[in-house]
Amino acid sequence: MTMVVWFNEYSPSVKASVGGKGASLGEMTGAGLPVPPGFALTTAAFRASKDEAGLDAELAAHLDGLNTNDTNMVSERCSEIRRAIEGMAMPSAVEDELRSAYATLCSESNTDNVPVAVRSSATSEDSPDASFAGEHDTYLWVRGADDVVEAVRRCWASLFTDRATCYRVEMGYEHHTVEMSVVVQKMVRPVSAGVAFTLNPLNGDRSQICIDSAWGFGEGVVSGEVTPDNFLIDKVMFEIGRREISNKTHEFRLTDHDTVEKVETEKERASESSLTDAHIKAIATLAKEAEKHYGCPQDIEWAVDADLHEGENVVLLQSRPETVWSKKQSDSASGGSNGDFMASIVSTLMNPLHTQKR
């Protein structure tokens, strides 16, 4: 039973055991994309821990008769469950491997107690889209093996947030079959970070790459707490067609006590662009490569690593399929003219839309 799969060991055959994030980070690493190193603690690790602790029985007890419309009940019962999971002892088979993997990561990074991000990596039936992303399933700047173990348990516990639990109840999923992997990845100390779509989320235009960027860690952008700078760049021509620099009043920054917190940004930096044109193009290049690799529009997370040299400092943190536009049936632009080129030319001449704006 494999408890740990390193990103650079990933193959599609282990996909189910490492969850969405793990699979994606493994695939990207395999595709040669610049991804910070790390490993996934597999679903087997969670199952082994659950079994040893007899958790399923406890789960069943807490969830028996749960009324999803009763928010107090839900809140109470789910916190109980989460407490149970967080307090769960890990079997040595699991904990030893986890600690060992972390130690390897430290030595490979030449850093004692290398800072890592510990994140839930859900398997697809439970939460297919980002609507479940948010609190409890991401822990940043975790240092030291003890804290890593602790963070892993908290991630497991995030399976039972109020929302996730109600979702499963309503969808009729069995709770004891729920699987989870946890990804442990070396953290980047970012100058700036954010997300990018390999299409324009406003209109679905697939020839564009849309970048949201803020100072510091990307969590603010992902969670929506920080209003980011926005850039639209053409995927083929690499022309930056639109720039909107926002007033970035806050950022997620590493504090003196080694935690990542939301702090106020200095006035001068708040209205400065968080990315140079070179950064923008580097991010677009990465996004384009990721899309090419996966063969469908991507929703990626990236960062500009403060500890790497300019020109090589843009890294990919996450890449997953974009979900909104990919679902839509693309309206055929042919508008029914179907090979009748004259009808199209007539319609072009009649159409006043060619009043070009600059």
């Binding site: 693309s330 055929s332 199209s344």
Partner: protein, 603 residues
């Protein structure tokens, strides 16, 4: 900021230009009899083709060109939403106003257009081959016309005893009629395909903008690019001759001084003579190339002003000798074009869309050679011959005392030249003194003064009330006139301080020193690495593109010849800024962003 331009009837006559109307055909004037119509339309000054005051005879091509365009839209092809373009001359400048088609006729027009334009698109290559034959035949006819002084006595054998029953006086007048008639025929040929070519471009553009709403204009233009067209041939010949001069060891002749001195040196050796023979081979037809748009008698033509091509050759020789590569980056442009096409194709959602994209791009490529080449064959080659013949005629009348300079003939309207020739013929036939020598000079003198006064008054860029939306497709694509540029004219160009906006005509970002010039004569002022700022560039300026970093112009859209040439030469360009030559000055450091269409003053 006003929301309209002055009425044509509010525009004052510049001082010293009173009576300018006598220089033009009556129907080309704004007048009380058509005031209601004229005041209801929006007119824009065509600075792209006719940037200068129209001398009376030169106005012929303005009128022929626009009327031919109109004829095809209205009577031949029945372009659905658009009839022709109305034109007027005001204070010496040409103004245009697209005339929409009546809504109630659209359905019928669509049917006719589909049939007639469809025929052209489906048979394009054959019709184009036929067109090339027609044009060459027409140029041949023009070349055959002679305008020599009438003889003292007609030739006994050839004229009298031959039984022809016609003489030199008849031929002289007939030849002039033929010049005028061939001129109109030439413009009919010019517009036979042109509007359809632009319609095909536009269709491709529109499709791209529909499937990719944020696609940069330049991306679309790149996909049509990289095709060898005759418009670049004159410059290619200059390069060939420069290389030949270096290879055959006669390059030193080009430091001898002016053209005459250089030719003296060349004649002194067999290699030099071979070079001259090679030059003459290139010259016909490729150096029938105007330094301007080809529409003015004063535009210099390479073959008649050898100092122009010789100077370009001298520059190229320097480059060859210093090991520089003269070639246009054709391979790079083609490779880039193929990459861009492949990537956008891959982004399309369905096979259906891909098929449509391929079809429209294919059509745009089929029409591209005509759309670019016609410019050489009509505005350069054919016009060059016409200007040459007219000068020959002008010179003949100089000898007969009608005026003092061959170019004075261009101060007569085309109908007046006919009168002058009649006067000459009649005086020869009688014989008696012609009335012309005392009649024409004061008129010419007066008109020169008027033209001078008119050229000092900057014309209003437009007249009348602008429409909410500019819909006529060629106005947008070719002239580069959009609702935005109209607003800029009304605001007098108060864009962001120190910044100009225009069409992102050719990609690249450079910084350098600006050189503002107003005519081809000033090209020699350009220093290496400077940025050329001009009202518009002509295709024949291409030989200096190797010297400069970028171009900035007042007029021109994405598919204007100027923009296309810059792209093919890999020179960054921003066109259609409206105010570059007014707001920028020589010596200023500027940044030209041809990728985004902005020009920033750095000083």
């Amino acid at each position: 900021m006003p929301d309209r331009f002055p009425s044509p009837f509010e525009i004052a006559t510049p001082e010293g230009a009173e009576g300018w109307q006598e220089m033009y055909v009556y129907s080309s004037m704004f007048s009380e009899s058509r005031r209601d119509f004229e005041d209801s339309m929006f007119w824009f000054q065509d600075g792209v083709h006719w940037p200068n005051v129209l001398t009376p005879w030169d106005a012929t091509f303005f009128e022929f060109a626009i009327a031919s365009l109109s004829q095809y839209n209205t009577r031949h092809l029945q372009v659905p939403p658009a009839n022709g373009i109305a034109f007027r001359i005001l204070n010496g400048y040409g103004y245009l106003s697209p005339v929409p088609a009546d809504e109630s006729t659209i359905e019928e027009r669509v049917a006719n257009f589909t049939d007639r334009a469809g025929h052209y698109f489906m048979n394009w290559n054959d019709l184009y081959d036929n067109w090339m034959t027609k044009i060459r035949d027409l140029v041949g006819e023009l070349e055959s016309l002679e305008f020599n002084p009438l003889p003292e006595i007609e030739d006994a054998d050839e004229v009298v005893k031959s039984g022809a029953g016609l003489g030199s006086g008849y031929a002289l007048q007939d030849n002039y009629h033929r010049i005028v008639s061939l001129g109109l025929k030439l413009w009919n040929y010019h517009f036979e395909f042109l509007n359809l070519g632009y319609a095909a471009y536009l269709d491709f553009f529109m499709f791209c903008k529909t499937v990719f709403p944020d696609i940069p204009d330049q991306a679309i233009a790149k996909m049509v690019a990289g095709v060898e067209v005759d418009l670049f041939r004159p410059d290619d010949e200059l390069k060939r001759l420069a290389r030949k001069a270096v290879d055959s060891g006669v390059a030193d002749a080009f430091s001898a001084g002016d053209v005459e001195a250089t030719c003296e040196v060349l004649k002194g050796s067999s290699e030099g003579q071979a070079w001259i023979a090679s030059f003459e081979e290139s010259a016909e037809p490729w150096f029938n190339f105007s330094t301007g748009s080809g529409f003015y008698h004063h535009d210099k033509i390479w073959i008649e002003n050898l100092e122009v091509p010789f100077e370009f050759i001298r520059n190229y020789i320097d480059k060859v000798q210093s090991g520089e590569d003269l070639n246009r980056p054709v391979d790079a442009i083609r490779a880039e074009r193929d990459r861009v096409v492949a990537e956008y194709t891959a982004l399309l959602g369905s096979d259906e869309e891909k098929g449509e994209f391929e079809g429209k791009l294919g059509l745009a490529r089929v029409v591209f050679p005509y759309v670019e080449n016609h410019n050489f064959y009509v505005e350069h080659w054919s016009h060059s011959v016409i200007w040459r013949k007219m000068r020959q005629l002008g010179e003949t009348l100089v000898k007969e005392g009608f005026w003092s300079d061959a170019d004075d003939i261009f101060y007569l309207k085309r109908t007046e030249v006919e009168e002058a020739l009649w006067d000459y013929y009649n005086s020869w036939a009688t014989p008696e003194a012609p009335a012309g020598p005392s009649y024409w000079p004061p008129i010419i003198e007066r008109r020169k003064g008027i033209c001078d006064a008119l050229s000092k008054a900057k014309p209003s860029p437009a007249l009348g009330v602008p429409p909410e939306v500019i819909t006529e497709p060629f106005t947008v694509m070719l002239w580069g006139i959009t609702s935005d540029s109209v607003s800029a004219w009304l605001g007098g160009g108060d864009a962001k301080e120190g910044e100009l906006r225009g069409m992102a005509a050719s990609p690249g970002i450079v910084e350098g020193v600006a050189r503002v010039i107003f005519s081809a004569d000033q090209i020699g002022e350009l220093q290496d690495g400077e940025i050329l700022v001009a009202p518009l560039t002509a295709p024949s300026w291409a030989p200096i593109f190797g010297k400069i970093q970028a171009t900035v112009t007042d007029t021109g859209g994405m598919m204007s010849h100027a923009a296309i040439v810059c792209r093919e030469y890999g020179v960054p360009a921003v066109t259609g800024t409206g105010f570059a030559t007014t707001n920028l000055s020589t010596g200023q450091r500027i940044r030209v962003d041809g990728t985004n269409g902005t020009v920033t003053v750095l000083d």
